[in-house]
């Protein structure tokens, strides 16, 4: 920005002014940070507040303790661990399967030339225009009909939810994957082919190891997206023991929210933790993935 440029030009004379500018910006940063993390701090405080209700909460609780966590773990009415486990299971299975589908299909789009290839790539892009959320009613009806014939993938099953999530695997990620694959020189494939390797061998032994960075980004974004998904899970899962964490906590917060605030805060904190850790640990990769296409190098 302009202030920065001018600083570069007149470095010595305006050194003092620059320091003032830094100071002001640090103060602004501090205010923004307060805005950003206050809700999180507030939840941490709520979870440690033994009185457990919204009305009696202070930022620094009087007798901090783990009472809320204890209630959360032992409550028979709200199987928190079950929900947490369901969420982890569904997110893991979905992201692994989705990644396999995306990678294998991306490889075919990048390496093979076949009729209808362009059309299919464009079609995949076009389908993204129709937000999955809009087909919610139809998805619900379809799953309930499927369940009449095959109860294993009917309503209230995790399998149905995973299948619906996987329906989106041939999505925009195919483009990301294909773009990355296109940057890997084809010489590698061709020399292996001369040696008599099959396509599958080339893909698994040669190409796959080179894909590591993009595999990490796609699977993490997928995992986070699935873990936090709410509405499909809300519509397809009916009974409490099948809920994902997001659905469970939303239902839990639905009734007597004021009294349950402390326990909810403890649950929200545990629920948010895996994703926060992933984000903060892999910040750079994720930011790179998010801004893909925004910045053209």
């Amino acid at each position: 920005m302009s202030s920065m440029t001018s600083v570069k030009r007149m470095r010595t004379s305006i050194k003092a002014q620059y320091n003032v500018s830094i100071g002001i910006r640090l103060i602004i940063a501090l205010l923004l940070i307060v805005f950003s993390i206050f809700p999180i701090l507030w939840v941490v405080s709520a979870s440690l507040n033994p009185t457990g209700s919204l009305a009696t909460q202070k930022l620094i609780p009087d007798n901090p303790g783990l009472e809320n966590f204890r209630i959360l773990m032992t409550s028979g009415q709200f199987p928190f661990w079950r929900w947490f486990g369901n969420s982890l299971k569904i997110a893991t299975i979905t992201s692994v399967l989705s990644l396999s589908i995306t990678t294998i299909a991306g490889y075919a789009f990048s390496r093979f030339r076949f009729r209808g290839r362009q059309t299919m790539l464009k079609l995949i892009l076009l389908i993204q225009v129709f937000p999955a959320l809009l087909a919610l009613v139809a998805t619900f009806l379809m799953i309930s009909q499927l369940g009449d014939v095959l109860p294993a993938i009917g309503l209230n099953t995790h399998a149905s939810l995973i299948l619906v999530y996987l329906g989106g695997a041939m999505g925009i990620n195919i483009w990301l994957m294909k773009g990355f694959l296109d940057t890997i020189p084809r010489d590698i494939d061709e020399s292996a082919m001369v040696e008599g390797a099959t396509d599958w061998q080339i893909f698994t032994r040669l190409i796959l190891p080179l894909l590591r960075p993009i595999l990490i980004v796609i699977s993490i974004l997928n995992y986070i997206g699935t873990y936090g998904e709410f509405i499909l899970a809300r519509v397809l899962l009916k009974s409490s023991e099948q809920y994902t964490l997001m659905v469970g906590l939303q239902v839990f917060a639905g009734a007597q929210f004021n009294q349950r605030w402390g326990v909810f805060a403890a649950g929200a904190l545990i629920g948010a933790l895996p994703i926060m850790i992933i984000y903060l640990a892999l910040q750079d990769q994720i930011v790179g993935g998010l801004t893909q296409g925004a910045v053209k190098e």
Partner: protein, 536 residues
Amino acid sequence: MPDRASPQTPKTKATSARASSSTITLPHLVRLAILIAMDASAVWILNRFFSLGYYPLAAATLLILIFVNIILLHRETYPIRWMLVGLVLMAMFTIYPIIFTTWVSFTNYGEGHLITKEQAIEQILKEKYLPETGKAYTWTAFKSPEGDYVLWLQNVDGDGFLAAPGESLTQPQPGESGVGEFDSKGIPETIEGYKRLNAILAATDQNLTQIQFGEIANSIQIRSPKEASELLPLYNYDLGQDAMISQETGAIYRNIRGTFSSQDGTQLRPGFVASIQFANFREFFVSPALRGPLLRIITWNFAFALFSLLLNFALGLAIAILFNDQNFPLKKLIRSLLIVPYTVPALLTILIWRGMLNPELGVISRGLENLFGWSPSWFTDQWWAKVAVLLINLWLSYPYFMLICSGALQSISQDYYAAAQVDGANIWQQFWQITLPLLLVAVGPLLIASFVFNFNNFNLIYIFNAGGPPMAGTPTPAGHTDILISYVYNLAFTASRGVNYGFAAAITIVIFFIVGAITLFQFRYTNMWEEVSENV
């Protein structure tokens, strides 16, 4: 299952394609066996779909099955096999729901109209009535100590029949089935396990007239103290008129939009799924009862998406510009702390904000109360509810804009600013003339995507206040912060007066056209389509 078989196929095919292809090898046979097994189970599933009347689902399954067979049997389609699983899942769980939504939007699918016409006719034809005249029996009732009843029926010729509820009539002789000796009228004196009721007891028995005796198809009910009669079907379906004709009253119930209705407005239940052409869309655009709330919902929908975008982008950009400095102290730490809102699953943060904004009890309301002696009613006042939603969305989304803007800022060459300074441009001019236009080129598509996302930001609206506060006097439930998609959700899943999938689907299609138009504009504007064509 089709998706189980295919992951192995690319490998086998790859090997065999390279080997001489005319010989039939073991992998070939294995693949063929898998394919046959898969087809067989798919045909069984198809058959079930058909018998249940799930025709659209059956058609989709059939098409997918044919596609899978073509792909697996033809050599030229080898590359497609690599993506077959993904394509099948996409067809089933992404494309089919889109097509199905379109179909539903032209029907009356919803409460009271959930089954096919054949099923509805079948159910209606099962209804029986007790004719006042016609084939009749005289009857004598027997009652067991447990309170079960059987009837001894005699037709005009004097033949006797034993009738128990749910069982077919029998014609036992004395000594058979526990039937005792006949009296002078041909009625058994005793039936084992039952006690014969005398005429007065039978005539005053409250239960007796309610029971249907005999098989369900030809059941018999007591019509008067003297007579019992066979029940007759109440309705007769007239194919030519497409109408149900009541045998009791002669009334004609014509098929009007999936319900058999008589002229005085009486309707037969159940109704069935029927095409109603553009009625749902017409209702959406012209229904006076809906126009008020819908217009407000649409206006707010656009306003919400636009204001969200502007606010979030402005704050994100401001932060990005402020800290766009390689030497800024603690840069990494500040960024990590600022993206914290982005790292918490949105659903949880929305619920957290709901707690914090709680009037009287929440920390923000209490804080404002202490400072100014007043706090807004975030949940019950429509304008403050809208402010709250925008505020939460700002908190949720500005880190994203901060990240993409700081990325884009670094790609703007410093030469532009140097040249601008030579020309004497001030900081504001530089921002409006250089930074913003160049930035918009880079992040434009993401801004449009974000607008589309917020246009359908169901989670925020639904979880914060379920679209509330409610609007007064609307025909279907609607709230002041409702956007189209949350309104659709209410229609389809929570409407107290019965779900209306057809109308919900029609609104969905309208949303799709809005979103589609915006996206098309994006493709045009950014030449994305051409780029796509060049890249593939």
